[in-house]
Amino acid sequence: MALTTGPADAIAARSGRLSPAQRRIERWRFLPWVFLAPALVIYSVVVVYPMLYSTYLSLFRWDGVAPKKIFVGFQNYVTLLTHNEVFWIALKNNAIWLLAALLVPTSVGLGLALMLNSRFRGSHIFRSIFYFPAVLSLAVVGLIWTWIYHPDLGLANQFLDAVGLKIFKRNWLSDPQIAIYPVILAATWNAVGLPMLLFLAGLQTIPPEMHEAAKVEGAGPMRRFVYITFPLLRETTLIVLAITSINALKAYDIIYAMTNGGPANRTQLLSTWMYFLTYNYNEVGLGTAIAVVLFSLTLIFAIPYIRLMTRKV
């Protein structure tokens, strides 16, 4: 194709004149809009308009079917905050999840990236191994880990048996007190790959001479990390934190595959509770209100990211 013949040939082949009709189209000021139209139209219809319409719907009481929606103002939000216990459980679970996502996958990803950044025999294989869970769907991750947590046949309890820690054996996913943590652990397994990849990309941009110079000056590995590596990874870190927190708030399928919100709604997240309210209880107003809350939370973590992306425009 043109890639092999080179762009110069392509240009040469096209040095012929445009017809007058083509010229007219070409001079048309709105031509960029023609290029943008397919993407912008479908994106606006599928993402932007529904987003705005959901916000509007959150101000109504509606079952999703009745011809009449009753305007209730901010009543749905008040109901959620004051009369909906599960909303608070979900919010708390989201907070735990978010905290775990900001701490664990990011630091494990950084640690792995530091270890695997140097080229040694097999480093690529190890990169692939540690990245691999990230390409699996969260539904699949959920199913696999459900077996690991199986009370009798699962790896988790069998392992505790084998090392003589029987007292720590649990019915991991049906114990209401702790069920959310095993789910978060499973999600973490999937969430480590991306930070690792981004940190590896960030590390490649640090010139090795800086480390050499610091070593000559007698700086130890700890000092070099604190004064060279970490400051130069600042931007990468910001991106990693933003992306992992946005992804953490999007978690949904893994809950569906592992616990379906149970036991007794103890593993609901805002995303799953929105689904339950909307599609199981026909509370469209409450459901969309949760979606708005979820979006607002995401926005808080996404603003630094969007700023960074657009600053470089």
């Binding site: 599928v46 999703g64 077996w147 700890m222 569906y256």
Partner: protein, 300 residues
């Protein structure tokens, strides 16, 4: 073994070892001991990391009785390939082809419109480029839940609920922000001189796009193909809400359904999961460097 470079995590012990040790010979032995420990630790970590996958493979290869007696983490007594064909016939085959259709149509169409948009944003001297880009970027952070109810109403009105066509349209829409981000990142690195030269020679914008810009952006197109392909293959929530009939289900959805229906047949379920993962595994092994390149494009 001693190839371990002095950069990165290994330096910690090594730096000290170098300063403390007197003779070069002793230093060499010290270093190779360190390297061995490093390798052993790394291999152990990798095995623990892959434990869930190993369990999955072992379960898929043994029969249900063996599993119930010896548990998941034991070598199969005899390898039972029939698990795969049985899982395939109990519906997974059907889900598999649905996923192939959806991914196969969504990815190329999406990339075409995304690169057209990205091209307009980077090379067509477009006054609104920044504003349009920010508008598109918002889509990256919108939770699906924010769109579900209006999309239900919309697809109902268009008679597209419970059709693969409807699902593909939604996927294309949701794919726009990431696709534009990646393609725009790459188009910006193309030298303007080439485009300008083509303009001066009288080449139309459409021709510049598909004869020059798009072929030059082939690495980005391949990266996006793979990232987008995997994401589409794995998508769950939209499929769950907008596909109602069993024969239309895509793999992730079908698997969860399969797991509730055959919750005790771990052997078949494991085989089913493995079937669904196989294409992703294959793509990952063949094209892994593009994962890095694609993500890099999204970040820079």
């Amino acid at each position: 073994m001693s190839q371990v470079s002095t950069r990165g995590g290994l330096t910690e012990g090594q730096g000290r070892a170098q300063r403390n040790s007197a003779s070069p010979a002793r230093r060499g032995r010290f270093r190779s001991a360190k390297a061995t420990i490093f390798y052993v630790a790394l291999i152990a970590a990798a095995l623990i990391w892959l434990m869930p996958v190993i369990t999955l493979v072992l379960t898929a290869l043994k029969d249900a009785g063996d599993f119930a007696v010896n548990g998941a983490f034991a070598l199969p007594k005899s390898i039972r390939w029939a698990n795969f064909s049985e899982a395939w016939q109990t519906g997974i085959g059907n889900y598999f082809w649905n996923s192939v259709i959806v991914t196969g149509i969504k990815v190329p169409l999406g990339i075409l419109i995304e690169s057209m948009a990205a091209f307009a944003l980077t090379h067509m001297h477009f006054r609104w480029a920044n504003k349009v880009f920010v508008y598109v970027l918002v889509g990256l952070i919108v939770p699906m839940q924010m769109t579900l109810v209006p999309l239900t109403l919309l697809l109902n009105a268009l008679n597209l609920i419970d059709t693969l066509t409807g699902l593909i349209i939604l996927y294309i829409g949701f794919g726009v922000p990431f696709g534009v981000l990646v393609m725009r990142g790459y188009f910006r690195t193309l030298p303007t001189a080439i485009i300008e030269a083509a303009r001066i020679d009288g080449c139309s914008w459409f021709r510049i796009f598909y004869r020059i810009a798009l072929p030059l952006a082939l690495p980005a197109v391949v990266s996006l193909c793979i990232l987008d392909g995997v994401a589409t293959w794995n998508e769950f929530i939209l499929a769950q809400i907008f596909l109602r009939s069993d024969e239309l289900r895509t793999l992730p959805l079908g698997l969860v359904q399969f797991s509730t229906q055959f919750s005790t047949q771990y052997d078949q379920l494991a085989a089913a999961v493995l079937i669904s993962v196989a294409p992703v595994m294959l793509v990952f092994l063949l094209f892994q460097r593009y994962f890095v390149a694609g993500m890099g494009g999204a970040v820079k």
